[in-house]
């Protein structure tokens, strides 16, 4: 009789236990949002995978193809951008600081008219070592791009080590990108 009473008490406790667990999950999810991890962020599956194979024409005519094969041997930041993308403007001036830190900078101009992109770069400056023109956006899809700007940090072996969705902020560069690049450069 005592056993069944205990069992009954336990069943009555069950709804509250489930509910409190849920509240815990909800609260932690809100904390994650505060930290910038919003539910519409899709973590990249490309991390720790070799860069997708690509060979795209250069945005600037007369320059050689921009190809994945050339990425090996140095730490590179691949930056996907477009002239029609407003947040890209915010990020653009910061790219110089990345180059200064000794990281090679390769741009992928996403679904853009070359003349628009060139005009944009003329106005805002061109920090890139090379710029690939991805007019149909296929290479970007191989990278798993779903919004611009996006940037990928590639190590010396040509493996993706870091991805940023959305514009890089000075804090991102200082606290995450540069320390990681330093480590990869060792």
């Amino acid at each position: 009789m005592r056993d069944t009473m205990f069992l009954r008490r336990l069943t009555l406790f069950f709804p509250m236990a489930i509910f409190l667990t849920l509240v815990g999950f909800f609260f932690y999810r809100l904390v994650l949002i505060e930290k910038g991890n919003t539910p519409n962020m899709i973590p990249s599956v490309m991390i720790n995978r070799p860069v997708p194979v690509f060979a795209l024409p250069s945005l600037i005519s007369g320059k050689p193809l921009v190809a994945s094969a050339a990425l090996k041997g140095k730490v590179t930041l691949i930056d996907v951008f477009a002239s029609w993308c407003v947040p890209c403007r915010v990020e653009h001036p910061l790219l110089a600081s990345i180059k200064e830190a000794g990281i090679a900078l390769v741009g992928i101009n996403y679904k853009d008219r070359p003349e628009d992109a060139l005009l944009w770069l003329e106005k805002l400056g061109d920090p890139y070592d090379a710029i690939a023109s991805d007019r149909d956006g296929r290479v970007a899809i191989d990278f798993g791009v779903y919004g611009v700007p996006e940037s990928y940090l590639i190590d010396k072996q040509g493996v993706i080590r870091f991805k940023q969705t959305g514009p890089l902020t000075p804090e991102d560069i200082r606290d995450r990108l540069l320390p990681l690049a330093k480590e990869l450069n060792k």
């Binding site: 069944t4 069992l7 009954r8 069943t11 919003t38 519409n40 962020m41 899709i42 973590p43 990249s44 599956v45 490309m46 477009a82 029609w84 993308c85 407003v86 947040p87 890209c88 915010v90 679904k111 149909d136 956006g137 296929r138 899809i141 191989d142 990278f143 798993g144 791009v145 779903y146 919004g147 611009v148 700007p149 996006e150 969705t165 959305g166 514009p167």
Partner: protein, 168 residues
């Protein structure tokens, strides 16, 4: 309720999600394949693939530019002889399990998939316990009093007794 199609994602995130350009409009006639069998496979596949840009829309429904690109990719893969599973894998390789509207069956989704039968079993269990308990208590009340219980009742009924001797 839902604001789906036409409702081009208004996201707080400071990036241009690839839906804002062009007024494309779900699956387009010029995307469709001439081969009706392949086309119907493409439709079924794209209905089960989530557009990474527009939340909770399949690429078949989505207006986003990226959804258009993915629909075209699905059809190109099918034309080059991919199986349905291979087409899905192609997109999973790029965007992760997130693109599958039907979550895959794996360790991390075990609780999800087994959840439905488990919840039902638990609920049935509660109902069963309810009936069992009812039966026990009813048997309990219908059973004749034991000798000891009768003695206690007699003691309680006895006006001489002040209640100190026998308590239930």
């Amino acid at each position: 309720m839902t604001l789906r199609r036409n409702f081009v994602c208004v996201c707080a995130v400071a990036l241009v999600l690839l839906g804002l350009q062009g007024a494309a409009f779900a699956v387009q006639p010029d995307e469709m394949l001439a081969n009706p069998q392949l086309e119907s496979r493409a439709r079924v596949l794209s209905e089960g693939l989530r557009c990474p840009v527009c939340q909770n829309q399949s690429i078949d429904d989505s207006d986003a530019d990226l959804a258009h690109d993915l629909r075209v990719i699905v059809r190109q893969r099918l034309q080059s002889g991919d199986t349905d599973a291979q087409v899905k894998q192609y997109l999973v390789d790029r965007y992760g399990d997130y693109v599958l509207l039907e979550p895959p069956f794996k360790t991390s989704t075990l609780v999800l998939w087994l959840g439905a039968p488990l919840i039902l079993l638990a609920a049935l269990g509660v109902a069963l316990v309810f009936y069992r308990r009812r039966q026990e208590t009813s048997e309990d009340t219908q059973r004749p009093l034991s000798a000891e219980e009768q003695k206690k009742i007699a003691a309680l009924m006895d006006p001489q007794d002040d209640g100190r001797k026998g308590t239930l």
